[in-house]
């Protein structure tokens, strides 16, 4: 009796737990998220990357087709970087600083960017801001015999001068197909009091392009003060890539007039032996016929 009561209670608790879990799973609210990132690539024209996402629990899902307007310093039409930009399937959109805002951009060392969503039911009214100080990331290389060194310097515009900045964390790597390959043992490097980083290149015989060129890349990622800075440099430090084009050579997958020699030899040898024997036997049959006529 007591045991059955315990069992019944256990079942009730289990049922409650299952139903609560399923309800809580179903009722996870989706929150719209808007993110704005500043990018400076090779110290040239800056760009702003917009990301729109749905946050469901701990998961993020891209939100596509959201129209966003990005402004410089103030959310007025005159300071908009462009008309509305629409996020793609991965929930991202990019806008480049237009020439019309050049004077405004150059007038100050610090700027604020504002992103505002319009015309989207779920995201409407959502905005995001990011403030940056203009900064440069420069990359240089030196070669001393077998030793190859990569040097970078981070400078920021302070009081009208480009001043070296200490304590900026960055990554230095070699561009590969999927991602960047670090050049040495360290994952990241931090600038010294002169704003410099010096790292030894330890990737000997890394395959480059046909001329042996590799693309070095230094990145400051999502820095609170400077945003994202990226600089690249092509250096002839890789192994030359030799592309052997076998398209026009004799091979098993080539066209009929490019049959491999060994296959031709073997095939014709076998065919020759078998059909040669057959022709010989036909000759013997003719001989039998002649013998029959003579004896007949």
């Amino acid at each position: 009796m007591k045991l059955s009561k315990i069992n019944r209670n256990s079942l009730v608790i289990l049922a409650l737990f299952v139903s609560t879990a399923s309800v809580s799973q179903d009722s996870v609210a989706k929150t719209p998220v808007l993110k704005l990132l500043y990018f400076s690539s090779d110290n040239k024209i800056p760009s702003l990357h917009v990301q729109t996402k749905w946050k469901a629990g701990k998961k993020y899902q891209p939100a596509k087709g959201i129209s966003v307007t990005v402004y410089l310093d103030s959310a007025t039409t005159a300071l908009a970087l462009s008309n509305k930009i629409i996020t793609d399937e991965s929930g991202e959109a990019v806008v480049i600083m237009p020439p019309s805002l050049k004077t405004k951009w150059e007038a100050s060392a610090k700027h604020k960017f504002i992103a505002e969503v319009t015309g989207s039911k779920e995201f409407d009214g959502l905005s995001a801001e990011t403030e940056i100080t203009k900064a440069k990331l420069e990359l240089d290389t030196t070669t001393d015999g077998e030793t190859k060194t990569v040097s970078t310097i981070v400078t920021a515009l302070q009081n009208g001068k480009w001043t070296p900045i200490k304590g900026v964390e960055m990554k230095i790597g070699v561009k590969r197909l999927g991602s960047d390959l670090k050049i040495g043992d360290d994952d990241t490097y931090t600038t010294d009091s002169l704003g410099k980083v010096s790292a030894q290149f330890k990737r000997d015989s890394l395959p480059g392009d046909e001329k042996g060129n590799l693309v070095l890349v230094a990145k400051v990622e999502e820095n609170e003060q400077f945003g994202n800075l990226v600089v690249e440099k092509t250096v002839p430090w890789g192994a030359k890539l030799k592309i052997e084009n076998t398209f026009n050579q004799r091979s098993l997958f080539a066209t009929r007039n490019k049959t491999p020699g060994w296959l031709l030899f073997m095939a014709y040898l076998i065919i020759g032996i078998v059909w040669g024997t057959l022709i010989y036997l036909i000759n013997r049959l003719i001989k039998i016929k002649k013998l029959g006529k003579i004896s007949g």
Binding site: F253, R256, L281, G292, G296
Partner: protein, 439 residues
Amino acid sequence: MENSTVLTNEQITQDLLPQKFGKRGMIWTAILIVICCIGAIAYIKQLRKGLVVTNMGDYVSWGIYISNFVFFVAISLVGSLITAIFRLAKVPWRTPLTRISEIIAVSAITFAGLIIIVDMGRPERLLNLLLHGRLQSPIAWDVIVIGTYFCISLFLLYITLLPDISVLIKAKDKLGKPFSKLYCWLASYWKGTEAQEKIRDRAITILCIIIIPVAFCIHTVTSWLFATTYRPGWDSTNFGAYFVSGAFLVGAGGVVVAMYIFRKVYNLEKYITDKHFDKMARILVLLALLYLYFNVNEYLVPAFKMKKPEAEHLRTLFAGDFAPIFWFAILVGMIIPIIILINKKGRRPLPMFIAGVMVVVGAWFKRYLIVTPTLLHPFLPMYDAPESYHHYFPSWEEWAIAMGSLAGMLLIITFFVRIFPIISIYKTITDQNETVENK
């Protein structure tokens, strides 16, 4: 021929001369002709409308036609087994079985070639294969080797027939006129002189020697049509040996069935004896065990590794949609015949006939299983494909053509038996004379 019975040459000739069809023979022939005609009608429809009349599609592009092709190629191997291997091994009891196996080989390889043309959809393009084919392609090898095997088999059949046709020419009075012109055209020059006999004997030996590697080639190359394709179920280094062993089995099964029928219909008990059935039963058990061994290799190794695409393919075979056919082919095509034939009672003619039929039917389904399930399991998922593409069941046109081709093969054998002796008269007499002399 029974060792205890000594027959006169006249008696042997009388017994083994081709006979007119009786009532049963006429019905049998009529049925075969009707099936062939239905197949021909279906083929004409296919020619007019294209391969759209079949249920083949983007995925199952090789259906029942190719299964049939592999079956025909397999059964044709028997010509080299009984004629060539037995002759070279000097197997003394081979004589009554030799011509049966030769005609099975010729008729099967004829329809193997024809069914491939049927599968092409556009037969006039066969010439393109010869004019523009790539020697690198196993398909080109198959065309070459099938053509060669057909020629050798036909040559072997013809040259072994020469003395018998001479007998038939002499027996014109008994046989009547219908085929006398044909006999004269084929072998009027054969006088049976010592010089002719010597050349013929040597030619047969040479043919027996070259037919064995060519027969192995035809089955190996046919297996390579599959094995050189990287697909679950075909990606195997075992395929050549697997095909050759399977071909030996179905060929021997086919001969056993034919032995029983000819013995029964033409009262050949004195020539195709219980001893022949017993010997063939032992060979059949050996071949079934060999093929079973290759089957274990073929399925156990990928099943042990269970790579995902292979696993899905094997699951379908072992426990999925194809499981009934798979287990039917394994049990009926191999295991049950072995069980029947390892018993002495099972090696009698009737149980042997049943076992032979089981082997042949099982072998046909086995070929179907080699072709179709693999095509239904491509490496890339069948995404956004119509539901009908996920399954394959032949259309009536495919069935009609396939059955028509099988009937055509049997019709060749039937007409051959009507025109020529199914057991060599000349060799039977020679064998008996030698036996008597030795005594």
